[in-house]
Assembly symmetry: C2
Homo-oligomer: 395 residues x 2
C-alpha cells in the first residue's frame, strides 16, 4: 500500500519520539518541496488548543510548506507555556528543513491538560527530517493515531484538460459521539496550482458535505484541524469555474471516503448507518433532524442491539426543533418501509428489517413529505466497547 | 411505607391488566373525592402521544378529578385509533367512578407504535376502581414503572398559618440520556385550595428548578407528563404572595427529591453527579454549559470509569456556544480544586479526586469567573449496563 500512496512534490515521515505511553510512532512531518497555497478549517470550540491557535493564524496568510503533528498529547489547556511549546515544535522542524517558521503548521492530539514533552520532540526532530520520503505518508498516518485501529490514507487521481493531478488525504479519527477530545485531524496534499482563496472556498464546501456530515462535527473537539496544501507541481492550474468543478468533485469524493473510514473505525463501532432525511422544507431542517437522530443514544443503542425500534427514530426526529406533520412521515431501512403515515407497518416488516440491521452498513431514510430538501448524516452504533474504551481512556 | 404515603381526599390503586409482557401491575388510577384544580406540563416533542394530546386539552380547563395511567404501551404513533383508544380508556374509568369524562386525565408509557390493548384495560377497570384506597399510591407507583427498579413515591407535609397540608408525588423514570422514549411521568396531589392559574404558575417554576434540571428534559419524550391536582380538603387556602411562597417552597422540595430519585434509578446508573456552573454572565449561559457537560457521553463515561478527566469537562464546556475566557476557568470536584486558571492542578490532586469519584454522589463545580449567575444540572454516569438495557429494551 505504501508504494502507491504518494503525491508529487510532497514527502512525509513518522517516528517514535516517546510521547505516547507505549512505544509507537507519535511524531509526523509532511513537507512540500515547493511553497504551497494552503486552506484550513478549525474547531469552533471556545477551548482551543495552542497548536490550533498558531496554525489558524498562519493558514490565514495563504502560504505554507510543512505540517508537523504529534499524538499522545493535545497541548490543550496548557496556558502560555503550551503556546511557547507549539512555537518551539515549529521552530525545531523549520530549522531542520531550512524554511521560515511562519510556513510551518502544527497539530497535536491526545490527552488534554498534560504539558507537551517538547525536549523529546526536539530530540526526535533530526531523525524525523532524515526519514522524509515520498512514500512516508503511511508512517505519518500511524504517527497521528490515538484510538484509531487502522491508519487512514486515501489517494485520488484526476485529469484536468489532459494533465493528471493527485489528491492525497491522511486523517485520524475520534470517539464517534460528539468527540470532546479524541480529535479529528485531516491533512490533504495536492499538486495542482490554485489560489489560497479558491482553495479555502473549495475546502469549506467539501468539508460541509463530508466531515461535517458525520457524527464527528467540527465544532466540538479542542484540536480539530483540516488542512489542504496545493504545491502546483503537476502543472495543473485550477482557476476557471470548470476547472474548479473538476477539482471540487475529486476533493468531495476524497473527503467523503475519509469521512466514511473515520466512522467505520470509530470507538467500538460495529455498524455504519446513514441517516437520510428527505421531503423537508429546507436543507437546514433536514440536517437538524438527521443530526438529532444520528446523535440519539437510544437510537444508537438500538442499532447495536439490531432492534428495529422505529419509535425511537420518530421520537428523536420529533425533538429536533423542526416543524413537521407526524401523521404523514415515512421511514425506510434500505429499501424496506417500516413506517407509513406515521405508524408502524407491523411485526412481519420488523423481521425483514432486523435482517437488514445485521449488515455492517445500512441506510435509514426518513421522508417528511413536507418539501423537497434533503440531507444525510453518517453515524454509527453505540456499543459496549464504546463505554469500555472511554471509561478507561487514560488508564 | 404504604401506610404513611397518603394525601387527604385522594385514593389510588394499581392492578395487572395484562398490558406488560410479563405479569405485573400495569394500570393505575388516582381519584380525588372532590373536583380538584389542576395544572400540567407536557412534552414539547412534535411527535406527541395520543393520551398527552387529550390530557393537555382537558388540563387547560383547570378542573379535573382523576388520572388513569398505564405502562407497557405508550399509545404513540398510533394515529386516529390511538386517540380513540385514549378516549375509551378515560370513558371506562369515568363511567366506573360516576364522573364526567372531561374530568378524567390519561397518561401512557411504554413501547411506541404498538396499539393500546383497550379491551384488556376495559376488562380490568372494575377491579381497579374497586381497589381504590387512601394507601393505594404504592400500587399506583408500581403500575406506571417501565425500566424503573424502585417505585418513586414522596410525601411532604407543611403548615400554613397553623393548618397542616400535604403534598404527595408519584413518578416514573426513564433512560437517563435525553430520553426519547422511556417517558417521565409525575403526578402530584395536594389538599390545599388554590386557583388553577396560580397552580400552573407554581408548577412551572418548580419543574424548571427540578425536573428540567436533570438530564430527563421535558421536550424530548413523546409522552412526558407532569400533573398537579389540588382538592382543598385540608381547608388551607393558597392565595396571597406569602401563602404561595410557603406552598412553592414545599413543592420545589418535593419535585427536587423526585428528580434526584429519577436520576439515581436511571438505566444503568452507578453515580449521580451535580454539574454546577457559577460565575456566568447569565443564568441561561450557566444552564447551557451545565446542560452540555451533563449530556457529554465522554464526560459520562469518564464518571463511570472514575477517571478525573477534567479535559473532557473543559472541552464540553467550550462547545456549549457560550462565550467565556478559558484562561480563568476553575473546576472543583466537591471541595477539591482540579483546574486553576484553565490548567490542571497536577497528578497529586487527581489522586484525591479519584477518591471523590468513587462515591455514589458528588458535585462538579465549574467557575467561569465571568459574572455572578449560576445554574445546576443533575446527571449520571454512562455505564455498560445503560447500553445493555437499551440494546435489548424490546426483546
Amino acid at each position: 500500500m505504501s508504494e502507491s500512496i504518494q503525491c508529487p512534490g510532497f514527502v512525509a515521515a513518522g517516528v517514535s519520539a516517546g510521547i505516547k505511553k507505549k512505544t509507537a510512532l507519535d511524531l509526523g512531518l509532511i513537507f512540500s518541496q515547493q511553497p504551497a497555497t494552503v486552506a484550513g478549517m478549525f474547531t469552533r470550540n471556545r477551548v482551543m488548543a495552542a497548536p490550533v491557535q498558531i496554525t489558524q493564524k498562519r493558514t490565514a496568510h495563504g502560504v505554507a510548506q510543512a505540517i508537523v503533528a504529534n499524538a499522545g498529547c493535545a497541548n490543550c489547556c496548557t496556558g502560555d507555556q503550551g503556546v511557547l511549546h507549539a512555537r518551539e515544535m515549529c521552530a525545531a522542524a523549520a530549522a531542520g528543513l531550512g524554511i521560515d517558521a511562519e510556513r510551518m503548521l502544527v497539530a497535536s492530539t491526545g490527552v488534554i491538560g498534560a504539558p507537551l514533552p517538547i525536549a523529546k520532540i526536539q530530540d526526535a526532530m533530526p531523525a524525523l527530517i532524515q526519514g522524509l520520503r515520498p512514500d512516508g505518508f503511511e508512517a505519518f498516518a500511524r504517527a497521528i493515531m490515538t484510538t484509531d485501529t487502522v491508519p487512514k490514507l486515501v489517494r485520488r487521481q484526476g485529469v484536468m484538460e489532459g494533465t493528471p493531478f493527485t489528491l492525497l488525504g491522511v486523517a485520524k479519527g475520534a470517539g464517534m459521539i460528539r468527540p470532546d477530545m479524541a480529535t479529528m485531524l485531516c491533512f490533504v496534499c495536492t499538486d495542482v496550482a490554485v489560489s489560497a482563496t479558491s482553495l479555502q472556498a473549495m475546502l469549506h464546501q467539501a468539508v460541509d458535505r463530508s466531515l461535517n456530515c458525520i457524527t464527528i462535527d467540527g465544532d466540538t473537539s479542542t484540536n480539530d484541524t483540516v488542512l489542504l496544501m496545493a504545491n502546483g507541481v503537476s502543472g495543473v492550474v485550477v482557476e476557471t469555474a470548470d476547472q474548479r468543478q473538476v477539482f471540487q468533485d475529486l476533493l468531495d469524493d476524497l473527503l467523503m471516503d475519509i469521512a466514511r473510514r473515520l466512522v467505520k473505525d470509530g470507538e467500538g463501532v460495529t455498524k455504519v448507518v446513514e441517516i437520510k432525511v428527505t421531503g423537508a422544507a429546507s436543507r437546514q431542517d433536514a440536517f437538524r433532524i438527521a443530526d438529532t437522530v444520528a446523535h440519539s443514544p437510544l437510537v444508537k443503542t438500538a442499532f447495536f442491539g439490531e432492534d428495529a425500534n422505529w419509535g425511537r427514530i420518530l421520537a428523536a426526529a420529533g425533538r429536533a426543533g423542526v416543524a413537521f406533520d407526524p401523521r404523514v412521515i415515512e421511514v425506510f431501512f434500505d429499501g424496506i418501509q417500516m413506517v407509513a403515515a406515521g405508524q408502524g407497518c407491523g411485526p412481519d416488516r420488523e423481521t425483514q428489517i432486523t435482517a437488514i440491521m445485521k449488515q455492517p452498513e445500512f441506510t435509514v431514510t426518513i421522508d417528511l413529505h413536507g418539501g423537497s430538501a434533503e440531507a444525510s448524516m453518517l453515524t454509527c452504533d453505540f456499543s459496549l466497547d464504546y463505554v469500555k474504551i472511554n471509561a478507561d481512556y487514560r488508564s
